[in-house]
Amino acid sequence: MERRKFIRNTSAGIVVGSALWSNYALANGILTAPELAAGTKKITILHTNDTHSHIEPISGGRNHGRGGVARRAALINKVREENPNSLLLDCGDIFQGTPYFNFYGGELEIKLMSMMGYDAATIGNHDFDNSIEGLYAQLPHATFDFVISNYDFSNTIMDDQIKTRKVIIKNGVRIGLFGLGIQLQGLVDPKMYKETVYNDPVEVAKDQVRLLREEDHCDIVICMSHLGYSYRGDKVSDVSLAAVTSGIDLIIGGHTHTFLDAPVLVKNAIGKDVLVNQVGCYGINLGRIDFYLNEGKIDKGMDVVYEL
């Protein structure tokens, strides 16, 4: 019974999805992707980071007129029409940066993310700026999950309020998410983060990937990170994490406000490609990753094609 429903939904999804895509692509004259072949599934990941309470378009300075939540929502709606199998994720530092945060404590930021239909967010260092209680106070406004795997909140008010990993199934494809936060000591006043314990991102990532792959049978594994894109020295970053782990398909990041022109490929610990992306800050850009998947186990003779 359930299987029949699954098949029906799937075929309907493909027909509607591809029709919308062709219409959109033709209308915009950017028909770059081929029509979906039978059995191919397309999953779109949309992501933001370091939006820092930027509700309205930026006023003044070199980014004048860019960003704005109401426009971001329009773009998200457009992509969702094109591909209903889309996920919307944020990589932290939702709070702090405009008077909206100082006046409303992050309530509007979280409410708008819920309205835009965010599926998950991880936690950035600035999300502790009204202390851990200030973050906790905004949780009732979130219809999405906060996913963070390396902060142990056991001795704090946030205990049981977050997920260490999350599986979302879209059109039959199992997408696994986990989150990594930056070391808070030295970056955030301890009176703000209280007894939050920071655990080593690399070890936690290895555990989470194993759980998502082996126990949750995920087809795609995505790390939502607020570690920072890359550093000189040996401080852990998205790029260094990608290189020493395996089983991660995509790391979307934040913290360093890095404006990448395009996502970057990094070879992982077993020589496979990991995609790493970050889209600057303040809601100026929306990152978009389209995954095309075929049924069945990995064909050893086939390499994944990246169009970046």
Binding site: E2, G65, R71, A73, K111, M115, G287, Y292, E295, G296
Partner: protein, 265 residues
Amino acid sequence: MKKYRLENRKGTWNYSAFAKAVVLATIFLVSCNQKEYHLQKVVGSKIAIDSSLTSVPEIEEYIAPFKKSLDVQMNEQLSYNPVSMYKSDYKLNTPIGNMMATIVRTQGAPVYKSRTGKSIDIVLLNNGGIRAGMPAGPVSMRSAYEIMPFDNEIVIAELTGDQVNELINYLIERKSAHPIDGLQILLNEDGTAASVLINDKPLDTNKVYHVATNDYLYNGGDNMSFFKDTPFTSFDYKIRNAMIDYFKKVDTLTFQRDHRFDYAH
């Protein structure tokens, strides 16, 4: 008793065998139902959010009352500024920098006194920390947010005479209009120090000086290494809030350039 135990044990074993069978059957069923997928192609792109997109009206309408309430509070006149002030107005010291130093001293001193019984000798901020100018006209909370968008707070460090000497050398070397108060540094034409006074007295190398700054500079921002590892007091008072509190109680701002840091003649 013994028999009962045995029976019970046997019962448990049977139950566990049954449970195992159920689990195995479930796994078999789930894996039959659950297809696996592998990546074939990945396409990445970055989409700019700009005026080419038409805002979603429902979102704009939702934001509107928050914006309105915020604007009312942000735009309320707190004080008045008769003459425009920009950090690029002059070299070595500026009206807007002198205002910032005065605000930190005026607002910080009573709190420091009540917490520690001590007084502030010197104020030192950084010119780069003044993020906007103040046009002539009404002064509002928005003015404070524009000039000081960061959440830095007032920190008062205790420096030895030698460390204050380093601080003075730093100012003389860089010749930037870093906001200062309590110090007078006059320069010769060749840029060397002609005279240095701290609250009208020469530097006393045996004295401990209380220097008000912000947490960014205290932690070595702008290469102010003389603060490193010095004892300090902070009391959770943001510079921006100090500005707002000051504007609320001062009717008209009358800051001017003076000779606190200047050439001697």
